[in-house]
C-alpha cells in the first residue's frame, strides 16, 4: 500500500451500485462480483442442484441482471441486508429462469463475465453430493470464505511487495497450515527468529488482515448497522461501527 492510500477507506460498493453514474456503478459491480460470484455459483449448485454448466450460466446471467440499475435499486438499505437480499434475489431469479426455460436463451446478447467456474467446482467437489445442507447457512459460509480468500490474497500482495515476505511466510505457516499448526518454537527454529519476533509478526499480520477484511466488509454493506451485523457474523464481534 502506498503512503497516500494507507489506511484507506473505500466507499460502500453496494450503495455505489445504485448510483446514476454508469462508471461508478460498474466499478462497484466489479467489487461486488469479486466477493459474491463463488458463493452464488456454489449456492446454485447445492441449493438448486444445478449442474456445472447450468450453475455457471445462471451465475453469469444473475450478475448481468444485477448490473441493471433498476434491479439493484429494488434493494432498500433501510429494509434489509444486502447479502440476504442477494440470496433471496438468486432464488427468485432461478424460479423465473425455470419458468422462462425454453422461451428465452439466458444471457443472450450480453458479454459473459470472466469467472473461473472450474476453480469453484474443484472447491465444491468434496461437498458433493449433499442432501442435508442448510442453504442460507451455506451461502453465508461461502460468502465468508470468499471474503477471507480475497483478504488473504491482498495481505500477501502487500506484505511481499513491501519487503515483508517473512511476515507473510510466518502467517502462512501458522494460520493457513490446515489442522496441524506449528508451535511458536517450531516457527522460531524454521525461520531463525526469536519467538517474540514470531508472535509480533503473527499479531501484525492478523491485525492487518482484520483491517483489510473490515474495509471490504464496509464495501459490501450499506449502513453502520448492517456492517455491525455482518461483522458479528464474520468475526463474532460487533465491531465498533
Amino acid at each position: 500500500m502506498s503512503d497516500d492510500r494507507f489506511p484507506e477507506t473505500r466507499a460502500s460498493a453496494v450503495l455505489a451500485a445504485r448510483s446514476n453514474e454508469e462508471a461508478a456503478r460498474r466499478a462497484a459491480f466489479n467489487r461486488i462480483i469479486t466477493a459474491y460470484w463463488k458463493p452464488v455459483f456454489k449456492y446454485l449448485r447445492l441449493r438448486w442442484k444445478a449442474d456445472h454448466d447450468q450453475a455457471a450460466d445462471w451465475t453469469q446471467a444473475f450478475f448481468l441482471r444485477l448490473l441493471e440499475k433498476e434491479f439493484v435499486q429494488s434493494w432498500d438499505p433501510e429494509r434489509g441486508h444486502f447479502r440476504t437480499w442477494l440470496r433471496v434475489g438468486i432464488d427468485g431469479f432461478v424460479m423465473n429462469e425455470r419458468k422462462a426455460a425454453g422461451r428465452l436463451k439466458r444471457g443472450g446478447g450480453l458479454a459473459p463475465l470472466s469467472l473461473d467456474f472450474d476453480d469453484a467446482e474443484r472447491e465444491l467437489a468434496p461437498l458433493l453430493p449433499v442432501e442435508t445442507l442448510h442453504p442460507e447457512r451455506y451461502f453465508e459460509q461461502e460468502w465468508a470464505r470468499s471474503l477471507f480468500e480475497g483478504g488473504i490474497a491482498a495481505l500477501r500482495e502487500d506484505l511481499e511487495s513491501s519487503g515483508r515476505g517473512l511476515r507473510w511466510r510466518i502467517f502462512e505457516a501458522t494460520d493457513l497450515a490446515g489442522g496441524d499448526r506449528p508451535s511458536y518454537r517450531e516457527l522460531a527454529e524454521r525461520f531463525h527468529e526469536p519467538e517474540t519476533q514470531i508472535t509480533n509478526h503473527l499479531a501484525a499480520a492478523r491485525r492487518q488482515l482484520r483491517q483489510i477484511l473490515s474495509e471490504r466488509l464496509r464495501e459490501l454493506t450499506g449502513s453502520d448497522d448492517e456492517y455491525a451485523f455482518e461483522a458479528e457474523r464474520l468475526f463474532g464481534t460487533k465491531g465498533s461501527a
Binding site: D3, D4, F6, P7, E8, T9, R122, E123, Q141, A144, R145, F148, E149, I152, A153, R156, D175, L176, A177, G178, G179, R181, A203, A204, R206, R207, Q208, L209, R210, Q211, L213, S214, R218, D224, A231, L234, F235, G236, T237, G239, S240, A241
Partner: protein, 346 residues
Amino acid sequence: MSPLSDADLVHLRSVLPDTEPRYRMLEQIGAGGMGVVWRAHDTRLRRDVALKVLARAQPGPDAEARLTREAAILARLEHPGIVPVHDTGRLDDGRLYYVMKLVRGRPLADALEPSTSAGQRVAILLRIAEALAFAHKAGVIHRDLKPSNVMVGDFGEVLVLDWGVAGWLGERTPDTTGATPAADAPGPTDPAAIDSTDTTLPAGRTATGTILGTPGWMSPEQTRGLISQTDARTDVWGLGALLVWCFTNEAPQVGANGAIHLPPKLPRPLKSMARRALAQDQRERYAGTDDFLSDLRAWRDGDRVSAHRESTPERIGRFVTRYRVPILLISAYITARIALYLWRRI
C-alpha cells in the same frame, strides 16, 4: 492460491483480533514535510475528526518526538481558540498519530471579504491574540503565525492551528545562526513550510541548518536563526504581521534597513500598533500579548491606544466618536432650549 479450507476459515475467524480500527481514514486534508492530516471517522464515538500522522518517508525517533511534543503542547492548551487534542496512538504499520477536533470553517483568507468592516477584522484579531495570550500563560509560544494557520469556523469561532513549531517559553534551544531561508524556500502559504524546521525537537536537541517558521512570516530573530531568543514577543511580531495582513491582504514589507512599510489605508492608531509589534528589536515591541490585546481592545472601544501618540484633532475626533450619543443628546437639548428661548422672545 489454494482455496481456504474449513479448518483454516474456522481458525482465522477465532484468532483475528476483535479490535476494529478506531479511526477510519476518509480523505487527506493536509500535508507537510513531517506529517499528513486526514479527515477520519471515529468509529467509537461516531464523529469525524482530524488525524495527523507521520509521513511514511519520515520515520525515526526524532520525527516521533516532534509529533509527540506537538500533541503534548496542544493537549496543555484547552482554550476555545485552540484546536483540542482527543487522542494519540499508532496505526497498524507503527506510525504515530494524534487526533484533534475537525475544524469546519474557512481559512482566514476566505473569511475576510472586501465588505468586512474594520471592527470585524479587529474582532478576529482579538480572538487570535486571546488564544495566544492563553498559550503564553501556559508557557507555550506558537512561532508560526500566518493567515493559513487561522481558521474561522462556521459559527464565527476563530481557531489558531498548526502548533508544529511551537516551543516552551524559557526552553534552552541552540541557535541555528547562519541558517537563512533558501531563495527557493516555500512561500507563506505553502503547507510544507510549516514543517520546514527541525527545531521542535525535544529541548536541547536541534538540527542545525534549518529554519524555524515560514519565510515571509518569520520574526527578525527567527530569520537570523536566533532560536534561543524566540519568546512571547516573537508571537507579538506574528500578531503585528496578521494585523497588517487583515487590512491589506499582504504580509508586512520589511525594507533593507529593517523598516516596516505600512500601507496608508491602515488606520493610524493601528499603524502605530503594527509598528510597535513589528519592531526589529524585541525590546521595542510590546512586552507581551496582553499589552497588544489591551491596545487592540482600546482601539475597538474608542479609547486611547498606548502605542499611538495622538494629535489634538485625533483626540477630539476620538472623543466625539466615543461619546457621540451623549453629545448628540446634549446638543439636541441645548438647541431645543435656545429655540424655546427665542420663541418666547418673539
